[in-house]
C-alpha cells in the first residue's frame, strides 16, 4: 500500500501546541507511508488540491489527514480523495485538534500523542477496503402517526406535494388537543375556525387515507420500505354506513359515560360523536358504558339508526400499509395533577385543569361557552390560575418547562374577563415565559388592560373554606409575604408529559426517547426533525414542548424532509454495514437476537442455517460483530482486524 499523510497546522490552532513538522517526519517512518507533509490549512481549497495532486504524483492508494475531528471534515476529505480517483473509504483521519492541541499545553506530550494518533490511523487505513453503496427503490408513500395539528400539517403538505399519506389517529376524530381549545393566543382567534378547514381538507384530500380510532401495531422494514400493521379498534358502528346524523346519541339511555373530549367536566352518552366538527364525523360506542355490550338488554341505537350501521359484534381489524417514510406526531398528554396533595388530590370539583377550563369556555362545550362552576353551576367571580403544576418541578422528576402554559394562562385570564366582566383573575407564576412574536405584549395586555393580578410565587395549599369557596394560600415572593385569596374557581396550568404509549411506539419505530418519554431528535440544533432511524421524522410536541405555531412549522419541516427523501427514485445505502462470512457462520443466532434493527435474518445455504444481513436495514452499529464468537459477522470499516490493529498500535510493548 502507498499511504500519504497530511499533518494540518490549522493555522496556529494545531501548530500552536503540536510540532507538526516532527509529527510528519515520524509519520514518514510508519509502515506503508510513502509521503508525509504538513500543510497550513488542509481543508481549504489549496489544501484539498494538494491532496489530490499528491495522490496523483505519489500514486497514493490511501490518505491520512491529521487535523480536526472527523465529525467535522471526514465527509469533506472523503470527497477530496474520491475526486482524485480513490474510494472514499480509503481515507482515515487523526483528530489532533479537539483531542490534542486544544486540550493540552505541553508541546512535547502533544507531539507524541499526535504522532501516535497518526500511527493509529495508518494502521487502520492499512486494513481498509474500498466500500461501495448500493441503490434501492423507494415506496413513495408516508405514514403519519397522530392527527393533531402537527400531523395534519405534515399530512396536508405531503399530500399537496403529491405523496400519498396514511394518517393514523388513536382517537375517533382528528384535531388533537387544538380541537379542544376555545381561542388561541396571541391573536385570540377561534381555534375551531382555523383548525376546522384543515381537518376538512384532510378528509377530502384524495391522497390522504385516514384511519381514526386506530393504532400502529407493528413496524418492520427500513427507510424507503417500511411495512406497517395498523390495528383498527372496534367502534361497533359500521363507518361506511354511519352518516353522523346523531340520532343514536339523542336516544342512547346510557348517559353517564366519561366525556374524554370534554376533559371529564361533563358526561356523555355511550354512543357518541366527540364534537360537532369531528373528522370523521362518525359515531363510536364506548364499550364500558354501553348497556348492550355490558350484557344488559338495550339495543336502542341499533333500532333508531336510520342506516343500520350499528354492529355490536364488531372486532378489531388489521390493515397493513407499505410506506417509505414515517412521521411521528403523537403529541402529549397532561400529567396526572391529582398527585398534588396541596391542590386537593382532585377532591374538589372547582379545582380543574386548564384544558377542562378551555372546554368550559368553548361555545361547543358542555356549558355552551358559559363559564360555570362544575360544583354548583354558579358563575365564578374570583378565579385563580396556578401555573407550573407539574412543570419545572424536580421533586416530581419533571424539571422541564411545558413551554406554552404562560401564554394560554394569559389568554384564559383575558377570555375570563370577556366572559364575566365583573370577575377578577389572579395568576400565580414562577416566571413569565413569553418569547414568541407578540407574546410578551400579550401577557402585558392581560395584566394592564384586563386587570389580571399576577403574583410571583407558588401556591402552598388550596382548600374549601366551608362557605362554598376555595381558599388559595400562597407566597408573593416579590412582596415577600404570604397571600391568601378566596376563589370561586381554581384553574391549574397542568404540565405536559409524553403521550400515553410514546415509549412503546418509540421502540416500534426504533428511535430513542429521553428520560421523560419525548422522542429524541438526531441533533438538538442541526437535525431537529430527523431521528437516528433513517426515514423516521418528528413533528410537534412528541419531540418536546412547543406551541401551535412551532408544531405547525415542524409539521411542515417534517413534510419537507419526506419530500426531499422521495425526490429521488432510489436511495443509496450506507456501505458501512455488517457482512456475514458464510464459511465461518455456524447459525447459532446470537447476532439475530441482539440486532437493534432486526436487520439480521437467517437463511439456508447448502442445507445449513446461516445469518444474513439485510443491507438496507443495517445501520452499522457493530453490536453483532462484538457478539459473534467466531468473528463470522464483520462490520465493514470497523472490523475486528481494524480495531485490533489500532489496539496493537498503542499497546504492543
Amino acid at each position: 500500500m502507498r499511504i500519504g499523510v497530511f499533518i494540518c497546522h490549522c493555522g496556529s490552532n494545531i501548530a500552536g501546541t503540536v510540532d507538526c513538522a516532527r509529527v510528519a517526519s515520524l509519520a514518514a517512518g510508519y509502515p506503508d507511508v510513502v509521503y508525509a507533509t504538513y500543510p497550513m490549512y488542509t481543508c481549504a481549497e489549496p489544501g484539498q488540491a494538494a491532496i489530490e495532486q499528491a495522490i496523483h504524483e505519489h500514486r497514493l492508494d490511501g490518505v491520512v489527514v491529521a487535523s480536526c475531528s472527523p465529525r467535522m471534515h471526514e465527509p469533506t476529505f472523503r470527497k477530496t480523495v474520491e475526486r482524485a480517483g480513490l474510494n472514499p473509504y480509503m481515507f482515515e483521519m487523526a483528530n489532533i485538534r479537539e483531542h490534542v492541541s486544544w486540550i493540552g499545553r505541553d508541546i512535547e506530550a502533544n507531539t507524541h500523542k499526535a504522532a501516535e494518533l497518526v500511527l493509529l490511523a495508518v494502521e487502520k487505513l492499512r486494513r481498509n477496503r474500498p466500500l461501495y453503496s448500493r441503490e434501492f427503490p423507494v415506496t413513495r408513500r408516508v405514514l403519519i402517526i397522530g392527527g393533531g395539528v402537527a400531523g395534519i400539517q405534515a399530512a396536508l403538505d405531503c399530500a399537496e406535494g403529491g405523496i400519498p399519506v396514511v394518517l393514523v389517529e388513536r382517537e375517533a376524530t382528528i384535531g388533537g388537543k387544538m380541537a379542544k381549545l376555545d381561542k388561541t393566543f396571541p391573536t385570540v382567534d377561534c381555534s375551531a375556525c382555523i383548525l376546522g378547514p384543515k381537518m376538512v381538507d384532510v378528509a377530502q384530500h384524495p391522497l390522504i387515507t385516514l384511519y381514526a380510532h386506530a393504532e400502529v401495531e407493528e413496524i418492520s422494514g427500513y427507510v424507503g420500505n417500511f411495512s406497517v400493521k395498523i390495528r383498527k379498534r372496534a367502534t361497533y358502528v359500521d363507518w361506511s354506513k354511519c352518516t353522523g346524523c346523531g340520532t343514536c346519541m339523542e336516544k342512547c339511555p346510557s348517559k353517564k359515560a366519561t366525556d374524554r373530549f370534554n376533559e371529564g367536566i361533563a358526561t356523555t352518552t355511550a354512543i357518541t360523536i366527540a364534537f360537532p366538527q369531528a373528522i370523521p364525523k362518525k359515531a363510536v360506542i364506548a364499550k364500558d358504558f354501553c348497556r348492550q355490550l355490558s350484557g344488559k338488554k338495550c339495543g336502542v341505537c341499533a333500532k333508531v339508526c336510520p342506516t343500520g350501521a350499528i354492529d355490536y359484534d364488531m372486532q378489531d381489524t388489521f390493515v397493513t400499509e407499505n410506506v417509505g417514510s414515517i412521521v411521528a406526531a403523537t403529541g402529549y398528554d397532561l400529567m396526572d395533577w391529582t398527585v398534588y396533595g396541596q391542590y386537593g388530590h382532585g377532591r374538589y370539583p372547582d379545582v380543574i385543569s386548564s384544558l377542562a377550563y378551555e372546554r368550559l369556555m368553548n361555545a361547543s362545550g358542555p356549558t355552551e361557552g358559559h363559564i360555570l362552576r362544575p360544583s354548583d353551576g354558579r358563575e365564578p367571580k374570583s378565579i385563580v390560575f396556578v401555573q407550573c403544576v407539574g412543570s419545572r418541578d424536580p421533586s416530581l422528576n419533571r424539571p422541564y418547562c411545558s413551554g406554552f402554559c404562560c401564554m394560554y394562562t394569559a389568554k384564559q385570564a383575558i377570555l375570563t374577563k370577556d366572559h364575566i366582566p365583573d370577575s377578577q383573575s389572579y395568576v400565580f407564576y414562577m416566571d413569565i415565559r413569553a418569547p414568541g412574536k407578540m407574546y410578551d405584549e400579550f401577557t402585558r395586555r392581560a395584566q394592564e388592560e384586563y386587570g389580571t393580578q399576577y403574583i410571583r410565587g407558588r401556591v402552598s395549599q388550596i382548600f374549601p373554606n366551608g362557605k362554598g369557596q376555595l381558599t388559595v394560600m400562597g407566597m408573593d415572593t416579590l412582596l415577600g409575604k404570604p397571600v391568601e385569596i378566596t376563589a370561586d374557581l381554581v384553574v391549574l396550568a397542568v404540565g405536559i408529559e409524553a403521550s400515553r404509549g410514546a415509549r412503546e411506539l418509540a421502540e416500534k419505530l426504533r428511535i430513542s426517547y429521553d428520560a421523560y418519554g419525548f422522542f429524541m431528535e438526531s441533533h438538538v440544533k442541526l437535525k431537529p426533525v430527523e431521528t437516528n432511524t433513517a426515514g423516521v421524522f418528528l413533528a410537534g410536541v412528541c419531540q418536546g414542548a412547543k406551541d401551535i405555531p412551532a408544531s405547525v412549522a415542524q409539521g411542515s419541516a417534517a413534510a419537507a424532509k419526506v419530500l426531499t427523501l422521495f425526490a429521488r427514485d432510489c436511495l443509496a445505502s450506507n456501505p458501512q454495514i455488517a457482512h456475514v462470512d458464510n464459511k465461518r457462520c455456524v447459525g447459532c443466532g446470537k447476532c439475530v437476537r441482539c440486532c437493534p434493527f432486526g436487520a439480521i435474518s437467517t437463511c439456508t445455504v447448502r442445507g445449513e442455517e446461516k445469518a444474513e444481513v439485510i443491507e438496507t436495514m443495517c445501520q452499522g452499529c457493530g453490536l453483532c460483530t462484538a457478539t459473534c464468537p467466531q468473528g463470522a459477522i464483520q462490520l465493514a470499516h470497523a472490523t475486528d482486524d481494524q480495531i485490533l490493529a489500532e489496539v496493537d498500535a498503542l499497546c504492543q510493548i
Partner: protein, 296 residues
C-alpha cells in the same frame, strides 16, 4: 413486644389529660407499655434551636435508656418528641456526630437504638379498626368531627413515614369505625402557629384562627387533635384566635385518645375531660350505648 413509653414533659403538665386518656385507652385496648425510668426532656424546644448536639444528646440519653432496658419500640404521644427522636437516630448514623454526642453523655449511647413511634400510629398498627369497633361500647354516632394532625405528625415525610403526608386519614378511619361522622378537613396538617405563641402572638392567633374558622364553617362539633402543643394552642388560646378572627367559635378541642376513650366506655373523669378549656359537655349527651354491640 416490649414497648417503652416516653410521656414527654407536656404530659406531666399542660397535657395531663392527654396522658390520662392515653394510659386509659392503651389499658382498655390491652396494650402494655412501661414508662422509661429517669427520662428527661427530649430536647425539642428550645434546645434544638441552640445546639443540635445538645438537643440530640438529650434525646440520645432517652433512646439509650430504652435500648438498655431492652425495648423493642419506644412510643411517645407527642409528635414533637417523636420528630426529635427520629432526627437524632438519623444523625447518630454519622460517626463524627455520634462522637460529639457521646462526649456530652456520661455513658456512650447504645449502638443499636429501638425504633420510635407515636402512640397514634402504634394504636393504628396494633389494633385494626374492626377490632376497635368491636371493643367499643358507646357509639359516636351523631358527632361531626374534624381530625387535626398538626404540622409535625407527618413532616418531614422522609423521617416520619406517616400516611400521605398531605392528607393523613388514620384518625378518620378510627373514629368513623366508631360511628362518628368525619368531615374532610383540608387544613389537617396546617401549622397552628404554636411555635410563635410568645414572640409573634398575632401570627399564632391568625393561624389557629384559620383552622378554627374552617372547622366551624364545615359545621364540626369538635376538632380532634394528637399533639399537646396544637391542642393547647387551639383550646387554651381559642379566645385570642376568636378576637383575631372577630368571631366566636366555642369549639371543643379534645385529644383523639379522649374520644377513643369515650367510645370504649371509659368514664369522662378518667379521660381528664374536665381539663379542656372549651368544654365538651354539650356533646356528651349525644353519645349513647351501642344498640347492637356484637360482643354484648
Amino acid at each position: 413486644m416490649h414497648l417503652a413509653y416516653f410521656p414527654g414533659c407536656s404530659a406531666k403538665g399542660s397535657s395531663l389529660d392527654y396522658e390520662l386518656s392515653t394510659q386509659a385507652v392503651l389499658n382498655a385496648l390491652g396494650i402494655t407499655v412501661w414508662e422509661i425510668d429517669d427520662w428527661n426532656c427530649c430536647g425539642s424546644t428550645p434546645a434544638h434551636a441552640v445546639s443540635t448536639e445538645l438537643s440530640s444528646a438529650l434525646c440520645a440519653r432517652n433512646l439509650d435508656l430504652a435500648a438498655k432496658a431492652g425495648a423493642d419500640q419506644l412510643l411517645t404521644p407527642c409528635p414533637s418528641c417523636l420528630s426529635n427522636f427520629r432526627a437524632t437516630a438519623k444523625r447518630l448514623e454519622d460517626p463524627d456526630f455520634r462522637e460529639k454526642v457521646n462526649a456530652l453523655l456520661d455513658t456512650p449511647c447504645a449502638e443499636t437504638l429501638p425504633p420510635t413511634s407515636s402512640v397514634l400510629q402504634a394504636i393504628g398498627e396494633l389494633v385494626d379498626c374492626e377490632t376497635l369497633a368491636k371493643k367499643a361500647t358507646i357509639s359516636l354516632k351523631g358527632l361531626k368531627l374534624v381530625a387535626y394532625y398538626g404540622c409535625l405528625m407527618s413532616r418531614p415525610p422522609e423521617l416520619m413515614h406517616f400516611e400521605d403526608p398531605e392528607n393523613p386519614m388514620l384518625i378518620e378511619r378510627m373514629l368513623e369505625a366508631l360511628g362518628a361522622e368525619m368531615l374532610d378537613f383540608p387544613l389537617k396538617t396546617a401549622c397552628c402557629g404554636a411555635a410563635f405563641g410568645i414572640p409573634k402572638r398575632p401570627l399564632t392567633a391568625q393561624n389557629s384562627g384559620r383552622i378554627l374558622e374552617l372547622a366551624a364553617n364545615l359545621g364540626a362539633d369538635a376538632i380532634v387533635t394528637c399533639c399537646p402543643l396544637c391542642q393547647m394552642n387551639l383550646d387554651l388560646r381559642q379566645a385570642q384566635a376568636e378576637k383575631a378572627m372577630g368571631r366566636h367559635f366555642g369549639l371543643p378541642v379534645p385529644y383523639f385518645t379522649q374520644i377513643l376513650g369515650l367510645a370504649l366506655g371509659i368514664a369522662p373523669q378518667d379521660l381528664g375531660l374536665a381539663k379542656l378549656v372549651v368544654p365538651m359537655d354539650a356533646l356528651l349527651p349525644k353519645l349513647a350505648p351501642k344498640t347492637s354491640a356484637p360482643n354484648a
